[in-house]
């Protein structure tokens, strides 16, 4: 599993500034990818990470980061899933909440807000994941959203990483990612 972390962090470090990247992975590599991104890549580049989650609640990821001993100081969450789950979970200081993953404009607004709040450092914006956003939104609106978001982030010199779980990928999702990403990184998980 260390191999996956090393592989991903090396691939990320080879990226050009402000790249928009589709990160294709198997679900089993999820936490290794997170470690590579947040603990190694963002730290080395002195980036503030804005983690948009529509897959699992931010509290679950925060708990995992705690186990992995990754400090939260420069990690912020836009949580689009906790409120729709109607769970009375604890709110976290480093998380802001969007009512539903269908409110894509509000998601963009929260990312913009966090970029302004962390203006002294460059940003890494992680979209976790295109597959879960595709459950709640049709392809047309999702493509439009990605197009606007990615171009906005590029203008702000932020890196964009879009997670895609291979198990749940469709032809439409692949086309969408090809359209908006500068490149696609495949997490091999070998060696």
């Amino acid at each position: 599993m260390v191999a996956v972390t090393t592989e991903v962090s090396e691939k990320l470090q080879a990226l050009p500034e402000a790249a928009a990247v589709a990160l294709r992975m198997k679900a089993e590599h999820y936490f290794d990818v997170i470690r590579a991104m947040l603990d190694i890549f963002a730290t080395k580049k002195s980036l503030d990470a804005i983690y948009v989650t529509s897959t699992i609640p931010s509290t679950s990821i925060i708990n995992a980061l705690d186990v992995l001993e990754i400090p939260l100081d420069h990690i912020w969450f836009v949580d689009c899933i906790s409120q729709i789950m109607m769970s009375p979970g604890q709110k976290h200081d480093h998380a802001i909440y969007v009512e539903s993953p269908t409110m894509l404009e509000n998601l963009m607004l929260k990312v913009e807000y966090l970029i302004r709040k962390t203006a002294d450092r460059k940003n890494l914006v992680i979209l976790d994941s295109i597959n879960s956003l595709a459950i709640h939104n049709n392809t047309k609106i999702l493509s439009e959203f990605l197009h606007i978001l990615v171009n906005n982030l590029r203008a702000k010199e932020a890196y964009t990483l879009i997670f895609s779980m291979e198990e749940y990928e469709t032809e439409e999702i692949r086309n969408m990612l090809n359209l908006v990403s500068d490149e696609t990184l495949q997490v091999e998980g070998e060696g």
């Binding site: 404009e105 509000n106 607004l109 302004r116 047309k140």
Partner: protein
């Protein structure tokens, strides 16, 4: 015959609102001296937008005045969004001024519930004097609907807004007049007169899309500048009003509140 050269229209000086998204929509800001109607139903962000316009003005060294008609300004200040850029020093130093219109009514002896032509003139002169005395460059009246309520006739309302706009414009003062409309209203102002006379109309509203309620903003009219007429989604935050384009890919079910 040589083609006649057409003179390029002179670019008007801009009043930068400080709300980045809005300044982009307006191609650099509101043309200075314009009187703009900010209209929408309750809870759509009109007051916050106007306050931010004044705070940015005050920070930029332009004296700014908020005329409160319905709400006590102390109460308003207590509920103001805790903007990261707001400093109470702006009020202490007189760059940001709050005045309650009922206090002015009282001082002017305008205690009647219905104003006639003469009272309209007294009120405009009084506002003009305040603008001169405090060297005001940005003004907000919140709300013009409540003032118009006392004017009763369309003629009086038209006369009031025309004179007010012209008085402020001649002083280089850019003004926002807040107008309250009900969500079902099909026009941009309560009396239907204000929108025709104002130099600009900014509409805030609520848009329901598949059960989600989004706050929106649209510049319908702005004299003196090219501008976008598209609808944007807004968020009221401590870094100010943020705007992003409304996504059109999905099915928009129903629009309410302008």
């Amino acid at each position: 015959m040589a083609p006649r050269e057409r003179a390029e229209p002179e670019e008007r000086e801009r009043c930068i609102t400080g709300v980045d998204g809005l300044d982009n929509i307006l191609n650099g800001g509101i043309p200075r001296g314009n009187t703009v109607l900010v209209t929408g139903s309750v809870g759509t962000g009109k007051t916050s937008l106007c306050l931010e316009f004044l705070v940015h003005g005050a920070i930029a060294g332009e004296n700014s005045l908020y005329v409160s008609v319905t709400e006590n300004s102390e109460k308003l200040l207590a509920n103001i969004i805790p903007y990261d850029f707001f400093d109470r020093k702006l009020i202490k130093e007189g760059h940001l001024v709050f005045i309650d219109l009922p206090v002015i009514y009282e001082k002017l002896g305008l205690e009647k519930l219905e104003f006639e032509f003469e009272e309209v003139n007294i009120l405009i002169t009084a506002i003009g004097n305040i603008v001169d005395e405090l060297k005001i460059k940005r003004l907000v009246i919140d709300s013009i609907t409540s003032v118009c309520y006392r004017l009763k006739t369309e003629e009086n309302i038209r006369d009031f807004i025309l004179k007010l706009g012209s008085m402020l414009s001649s002083r280089g003062c850019t003004s926002l007049l807040v107008s309250e409309i009900s969500p079902a209203e099909e026009r941009y102002s309560h009396y239907g007169v204000e929108e025709a006379i104002a130099d600009g109309v900014v509409v805030t509203g609520n848009l329901e899309r598949r059960g989600d309620l989004l706050r929106t903003l649209q510049v319908v009219k702005m004299r003196g500048t090219m501008h976008s007429r598209a609808k944007y989604v807004l968020d009221l935050t401590t870094v100010g009003v943020l705007l992003v384009p409304l996504l059109k890919g999905g099915s928009v079910a129903a629009a309410t509140g302008g």
